[in-house]
Symmetry: C2
Subunit: 108 residues, 2 copies
DNA sequence: TACACTTGCAACCAATCGGTTTCATAAGCA
DNA sequence: TGCTTATGAAACCGATTGGTTGCAAGTGTA
């Protein structure tokens, strides 16, 4: 199935997983302990995260360590960029307005 | 129903709506013309966007203009901030490594 | 080899999602 | 006052989601 990073971060449990493995690599079992749901449910989330290349895996014996593919997170940042431009422009305009007000005040 | 901004941007049609109304306020009818689905489907998306306060509405006669609440988009930026820190740190570390390599080269 | 542990996958299920059609309401216009 | 236009809400539907249980495969260990 075609996975999308925006769909991946839509679920709060997956965002929590992302936050955890961003700090340090973790096994599915260790992750599952942090949540109320079963290990299999966490495993499903990890599969979704894997499908959209948000995580990296490293096998160590019979354990598999999952860690965050931070580069992929930049995709969200890139998407956000167009909107950041807008709010920065608005902020600049606001500053301009404030500066004008201040100037007028000083002229009085 | 409790709405979440991450859930709101998960759908590609909603992201397209966001992109359109970021540029200029639009009516549901005008928006629906841009998509293959019905006006009612677009209306549903607008309701979801409204529920999580991502859009602002302005009634003009019998038309309702929808525009983007850009401030709300900052929430995503704030969430992303923790990860931006990570990739910027990694980038700094990479720069450091490159600088060291360069230095060693020059010492030869 | 036998057993315990870690993991992924398949089957199933209730809830939600994104879409449709139908209908009700409100505003402009002849 | 009718008629058209713009919109939202409700009812319905198939697909998807997030969860479960059960099972199979691979790895470490006594």
């Amino acid at each position: 199935m075609r996975r999308d990073i925006f769909q991946a971060i839509a679920d709060p449990t997956r965002r929590a997983i992302i936050a955890l493995i961003a700090v340090q690599a973790m096994t599915p079992n260790a992750l599952a302990e942090k949540f109320d749901s079963t290990r299999q449910a966490v495993s499903k989330h990890l599969r979704i995260l894997t499908e959209c290349e948000l995580v990296r895996t490293e096998q160590k014996g019979r354990e598999i360590y999952y860690s965050l593919e931070i580069e992929k997170m930049k995709e969200i940042d890139e998407w956000l960029e167009q909107y950041r431009k807008i709010w920065e422009t608005r902020f600049d305009q606001l500053e301009e307005v404030l500066a004008t007000i201040k100037k007028k005040k000083e002229e009085k």
